[in-house]
Amino acid sequence: MTQRGNPRRPYRDVAVAVPVSIPYVRYSQDTAHWWIARALKTLTERAGITPADLDGLSVSSFSLGPDTAVGLTQHLGLTPRWLDAIPMGGASAVVALRRAARAVEAGDASIVACVGADANQVDSFRKLLSSFSRFSQDASYPYGYGGPNGSFALLTDHYMRSYGVTRQDFGRICVAQRDNALTYPQAIMRKPLTLEAYMAARPIADPIHLFDCVMPCAGAEAFLVTTADIAEDLGLEQARLLSTIERHNAFPDDAIQMRGGWAMDVDELYAMAGLRPDDIDVVETYDDYPVIVMMQFEDLGFCKKGEGAEFVRSHDLTNCGSFPHNTSGGQLSAGQAGAAGGYLGLVEGLRQVTGQSLSKPVEGARTALVSGFGMINYDRGLCSGAAILQGAAT
């Protein structure tokens, strides 16, 4: 086949604005509809628009059933001309942003609300697990039913064996994130975490221990995607979208997951933005377990494969540190509100580069890299994505 090629076009003046985080709660009787409504109401109020001004909507939620995004429009009284549903768990926000950006760029929509939200009633996590995917049902759950803990325990064990990584190395990530969370008023985890406490935590699925796991909770996160002009007219603090990548089922022949799809597309991510890893001021990775954070440091070019642990040892990952990372505490400390967990980093990164931080601001933060990772279908996470956002020059 002759290749004519189809180079990616840069994003033209796509603005990302109005970071919204509805405070999480551990258990809630409220539904996904309720959480989404609260996020959209806050979003429109802070943008100074009415719900009718939203002509685009992108929804990510595991707990909307039996409704879909379609049913949600009637439920909430919205009449969008562009509607999307992104069922990609931890990659949802990046993917929602990519799609919304192109819709706005093309004029298919002018103001898109992207929202990730989930309910968490008592026992709903167990029910969510039981119907997650066919491969999980057939080939993962019958083996100890560890859920994501069990899957990530295997990846973590293999990663530790391969590169001589220790639990302390993962502990540094978790402790730094807790430090960051203590500056973020909406974090679920409010108590300081020491490395000693991390090491002494009870095992969940060896080598995963308690503080390697996120706390499932209920909550919502949202942001707006529009044009730079509209954002300016509305008087919104905005970040420009510089580049994105997305990949699914990368490296299917790897015997066990040692890298994510970022490793396939990282060069394009930086090339499209015209930046290098050194130019990034704030990094928000998807952190359902610390091992995947370390893989993202490697696969996103901050260090070489196998050097993630050394990178963590030689950097301070707090908001005031040499490598500000997961600046609101990440899911490990802020909580995992289902699909909103995939939004947490993007919304936080947007706040940091637009001077709206709720957590301790990263000094001089202008450029944020946000990465997503989602959907353990059987033995590995399948969806990966990343985006680079840049705030206005100061």
Partner: protein, 413 residues
């Protein structure tokens, strides 16, 4: 080496019995293909007809070439374990009761990655042997075993969940008057069963092998007539609460089809033993076994039925006998579903013609009682749901799977 399990102490009658929870039951239709093979003790995976790729997890299209022509076939179990975990918390009630649980990731020599139960004697990383077994819910699962057998390996608690080992269990063998019943009793008593109760109908009538049976260690004869509901109920009242394994060795064999003069009386007798006898056992012992399926080391484990392979296709020389066995086979399928909620396995041991008085004129190869006893023990130790004992049983099954109608004609010639 595995730590040998210990004989459980006498049960505290006031303590709660652990409920018979089951591991997750839902499977896709493709996954049931693996279960069908595992039921016969074979590790089979889908292999793509077009490109030869071994597919796992079970699926509907090849991830190498998108062909939809995937067929389950036996595959080599050679693999390398590359990662392990010990799961200590779960939202699933079955596993919660049995934590901690060891799980591994293996790479098959043929290329697929498999999340698997990990036998306690497996060293990580290292070579393993993959085998497929049925879990307590009757679905196929795989377990990675040490490349070489280790000491007491059958005592590994995760492995034992996948079998119905007679070790430290109490067994009822239903017909001690027959050579098959006597062989089974001797074999299970020698395999670590705490007691083997052996049913004897009309005990005042002497029978061949009687003194040898009486002399067997750990064997106790009990009056039991499967054609008499009161007799079965009475025995269940006495030992039903502690019977962990039943091996139904009864089989009423007479030649003849539908047309003979005294065919009706023979038919009634055959059904009284082979069909209603099975039902009486299930009625009397089934509820107790089902309630004790999760009850620790000596939980109720299995109901084994030994029946002729002609349950699958009628052998006209023994026409009514075949019909009674077909009914028996059908009812075993029903019983399997009825005992599954208790995690109790129903095992069918299909045999070729047994070398006994009623089949003197049947040409060889015939099956010796000791062969059947070995097959029963293997089925229990390996957790095999359907076994085929002897050349005739295996041959008839192969032909049945090829084409039942052809088999019908072949058996009637």
């Amino acid at each position: 080496m595995s730590v040998p399990i210990e004989r459980p102490p006498r049960k505290d009658p006031q303590a709660a019995t652990r409920p018979a929870e089951l591991p997750p039951l839902n499977r896709s239709r493709s996954a049931l293909g693996m279960t069908a093979w595992a039921a016969r003790g074979i590790f089979a995976l889908q292999v793509c007809d077009a490109c030869g790729r071994v597919a796992y997890p079970p699926r509907d299209a090849c991830s190498g070439c998108l062909s939809t022509s995937l067929r389950f076939q036996p595959v080599e179990g050679g693999a390398t374990v590359i990662a392990e975990t010990t799961i200590r918390t779960s939202t699933d009630l079955y596993f919660r009761e049995r934590m901690p649980w060891r799980v591994g990731m293996v790479r098959l020599d043929s290329g697929a990655s498999i999340v698997t139960h990990l036998h306690g004697d497996v060293a990580v990383p290292g070579p393993v042997r993959m085998v497929a077994k049925l879990d307590k819910g009757g679905n196929a699962v795989v377990i990675a075993l040490p490349a070489e057998d280790s000491d007491n390996m059958a005592d590994d608690l995760q492995f034992r969940e996948l079998t119905a080992s007679p070790k430290f269990r109490r067994v009822l063998v239903t017909d001690g008057r027959s050579a098959v019943g006597q062989a089974v009793a001797a074999r299970l008593a020698g395999a670590g069963a705490v007691s083997v109760f052996v049913g004897i109908a009309e005990p005042w009538k002497p029978f061949a092998g009687q003194s040898e049976l009486a002399a067997m260690a750990n064997v106790e004869t009990m009056e039991l007539d499967l054609t008499d509901t009161a007799s079965v109920t009475e025995l269940a009242g006495e030992i039903g609460g502690k019977t962990d394994i039943i091996v139904n060795t009864a089989d009423h064999v007479r030649p003849g089809g539908l047309v003979g003069q005294d065919a009706l009386a023979t038919a009634h007798q055959a059904f009284e033993v082979n069909v209603f006898g099975l039902q009486r056992l299930a009625m009397a012992f089934g509820p107790g076994m089902r309630a004790r399926g999760g009850d620790g080391t000596n939980s109720a484990a299995a109901f084994v039925d030994i029946l002729p392979i002609h349950a699958f296709a009628n052998l006209p020389e023994f026409g009514f006998h075949s019909a009674s066995c077909a009914a028996r086979h059908s009812l075993l399928q029903c019983l399997r579903a009825e005992l599954r909620p208790g995690g109790v396995r129903v095992m069918s041991v299909f045999t070729g013609p047994v070398d006994d008085d009623w089949r003197q004129h049947v040409p060889p190869p015939k099956v010796a009682p000791s062969q059947i006893a070995s097959a029963v023990l293997t089925a229990l130790n390996e957790g095999i749901e359907e076994s085929f004992v002897g050349d005739v049983a295996q041959d008839v099954m192969a032909r049945f799977l090829a084409d039942p109608k052809v088999l019908e004609r072949e058996l009637s010639q």
